[in-house]
Chain length 563, copies 2
Amino acid sequence: MANKKVVIVGGVAAGPKVAARVRRVLPNAEITIIERSKIISYAGCGMPLFIAGRVNKLDELVSTSYGAIRNEDFFLQEKGVIVLTGTEAVSINRDKKQVITKNLDTGAESELDYDKLVLATGSTPITPPIEGLNLKKVFRLYHPDDAVAIKEFIEKENVDAPVIIGSGLIGMESAEAFMGKMLFPTVVELRDQILPGILDPEMSATLKTKLEDMGMEFKLSHNVLKLEGDEEGNVIGVVTDQGTIDADMVIVAVGVRPNVELARQAGLDIGETGAIAVNEFMQTSDPDIYAAGDCVENVNIITGRKVYVPLASTANKQGRVVADNIAGKKVSFKGILGTSVLEVNGINIGRTGLSEQQARDLGYKVETAINASHDRTHYHPKHGQVILKIISDAETGRILGAQGIGQGDVIKRIDVLAAAITFKATLEDFFNIDLGYAPPFSTPIDIAAHASNILRNKLEGLADSISAKELQEKLERGDDFVLLDVRTLQGYKSRHIEDKRVQLVPLHELRNRLDEIPKDKEIVTICAMGTRSYEALRTLKGAGFNNVKYLEAGFEGWPYDYD
Amino acid sequence: MANKKVVIVGGVAAGPKVAARVRRVLPNAEITIIERSKIISYAGCGMPLFIAGRVNKLDELVSTSYGAIRNEDFFLQEKGVIVLTGTEAVSINRDKKQVITKNLDTGAESELDYDKLVLATGSTPITPPIEGLNLKKVFRLYHPDDAVAIKEFIEKENVDAPVIIGSGLIGMESAEAFMGKMLFPTVVELRDQILPGILDPEMSATLKTKLEDMGMEFKLSHNVLKLEGDEEGNVIGVVTDQGTIDADMVIVAVGVRPNVELARQAGLDIGETGAIAVNEFMQTSDPDIYAAGDCVENVNIITGRKVYVPLASTANKQGRVVADNIAGKKVSFKGILGTSVLEVNGINIGRTGLSEQQARDLGYKVETAINASHDRTHYHPKHGQVILKIISDAETGRILGAQGIGQGDVIKRIDVLAAAITFKATLEDFFNIDLGYAPPFSTPIDIAAHASNILRNKLEGLADSISAKELQEKLERGDDFVLLDVRTLQGYKSRHIEDKRVQLVPLHELRNRLDEIPKDKEIVTICAMGTRSYEALRTLKGAGFNNVKYLEAGFEGWPYDYD
């Protein structure tokens, strides 16, 4: 039997992973990667670090962990894989099992035979339908060339008013890069929150407040109409439906779309999300053609529905699965949870599973809890704050999703919750996981288990709560109620809500001062993080107060103004 | 109905947790905690940090996260809980449902009625049967008073030769405290490895090498016979079966035993491990008497067997379960995985589930893999090394246990693996978990999933490997084989094994230099972390070399000398 010919279109993430794994499982396969660009196998996610100067050389983003540069020669020598850069896959002849390629330097076309073809064609930044995108000083952050251009520009010019259009993952990672350079970007977002699709509104609002405190600015619900330039063709403003925002450079980051033209032209099925449709073995509608990475759609393992969530982690996993299937193993890619994590100026942000709205839309009876706490023992010098939200199905107690933000270790909890959600854990199951405890790492009951317990308390009727948004609405509406602040006088003085409905009774005095609190009024308890206000709620309930709620996550989760 | 009387014996971890939770679920219960000592609800695990000066005041170990000191007044005012410190529970009269208490200051005895009694009597350091324990400058690290004494001693005296007897959790945490003070302890251990019961031998050996590089000394397989003193009664040496070790202070940390005297005297069942036997609801053999924390035995959820693993995390969880059951809910404590984590001088150490030997003893057909890698993208400035071992059942692919060491983020992976093991995940299940990826947090395929994949490769016959110990034995035995180092010349020069059987062929030259490698000999490939040596193995196998193995975890996991 002749050696199997494997042709891979795309040399960034999924493609090289397929090639490397096929080589290890099929030593004699003839493997060829076709890549339009001149750079292959680069860590696109590292570009913000490069711009911020935390990665010194672009080479580090195309190096192995042992320092070898992943170029054509590396793939040939170490992997026995031929890489054709500067080469475009023009079309596929499925009958002849050939890819027609074009050398972008010479224009010469040729045919490449395949037994198995892999489409790892990736994605392309979406170009919004506005004028001015061709002005100078307007960038996108997609390819390493973009990163080099942005970095050179920032370091050469005296940038003062950078504007980012879009507050999704790439927009916020661009913000991270600017902050690393001590530049304070303005982020313009069409939706009414930052990181839509990643964070629920109240988590997003709290994050926004934290980033504003660090100097960033956000223009939410702003529809960008065009970019304005000066006589020299330099961008000077972002024109929105609510006025013009001054800009001396702009990054456009309004999302990506899958590159499906080659697949579509070849008659392969395109899914409902607009990405290439694949089965669990990562085969397209032609069983000899696989697809993986940013060009394919995925299945959300909770809902069973198709989603388009392009991520490098998924691309790499799929690459391995494709290779194993090419080698004749039957290996499935099970799907995704939509786990997304990022860091912006020292704040860790993550989510996994369903958002609250997604869960409601699917018909779940949803209950959620938000917990503000420390990621490790509060006496450990490295402790940091974490605000964690857990979304559950109230009927079964099953955990459906989780989100976290904070300077503490959010991501460990997101990963543990992702594992638990994968295995359909309930809140009680979650509490029973024997997580590691020592002061440098966690609290005796880990904050994630603690958040899960708060949610159990709510489901058991022990912890009637109110969200920051609901409280703010009550305050603005002029409702008659008592906002019982149970912190110490010192805590109260440091920050508090200035309102005549606020009454201060520190928790340690509460049991002796119950007669000062009106029994006939609605009471909302409030403290720094939710611990004391929950305790106060239980004390008041125990003393016969019936209409009591506590503010979840306390001032830590309060995104509004206070005195 | 009269208010429920809840009496809790023990005021450190489980006891106060029971009290706090009972108060929240039973507002009118009469709750009393009895505690021998004068300090209650302290974070014993924080004592090494206090000694090292990373926690400034002992008060921080008895404070809430919002700064309140957890003393008698705190429990009374905030929780409505009576705490009797300096009070001993002398005996239990189960017929009358009374605890007989003794005020340790006055000697006065009294009776305390209970409806539900909770034993949270904790544990006591084991006193080894040797002479000299009463010498001056001999300490244990168990109670905050011990921590204060050690800290004062270290800061006052010119300590030069501290010796720790025992290399279990408390011994190694004591070492962490010394290292924080720039003191380099000698640790004496009866067994032939450090952290027995926590780490498998090869992981332990690698850790030992790292700690030795930092200045610590270990005396393994040393049986301590007695402590030697001078005329003034100060300890000056630890006498072992292999000679005397100079010492100017000694910490004795040879484990703890559960405090079961009160339970035994009351006729309650003591389990096979020597700790108090409880059912899943944390009830002792008397259904009105619960027990929790360091005084009870637990069920290992993988084996179903009873184990004694006293940890603060377990104590706190059990406290909550006890309280809920006292309140009439039926809540189970499911058991433990034996997850243990600690930090020693910047090295993170963790384990969960079964050890390799435990798994073999249970009759599993065991396969393991060790992976040395970076905890996040190697180009991220904060990246650190992690060596991770996964233990699986070769027949089902189920993950049975995991261990990790390194300066990178070991603990996140241990927690995620603990979650996966709890839900009986296989290696393939584990690979499919959608863990968060971004450069500051992980690699596109997380190191834990990578370790899991290595193990899958081994099970599939793709990755014949050899352990460091096996390779060392081969070298010493004088076996005829080729040790093929596939790093660059530069890597080879930095450190390598000096032996005439070593042949250097960098991976990128291997495909062109195959004829230099003898086909009839056994070949072991080696590199820095195992990545290139595995690649070389696949290359050689593909070229018809049949007898090839690679060294798992490479030089990173090599605990022996090299040139």
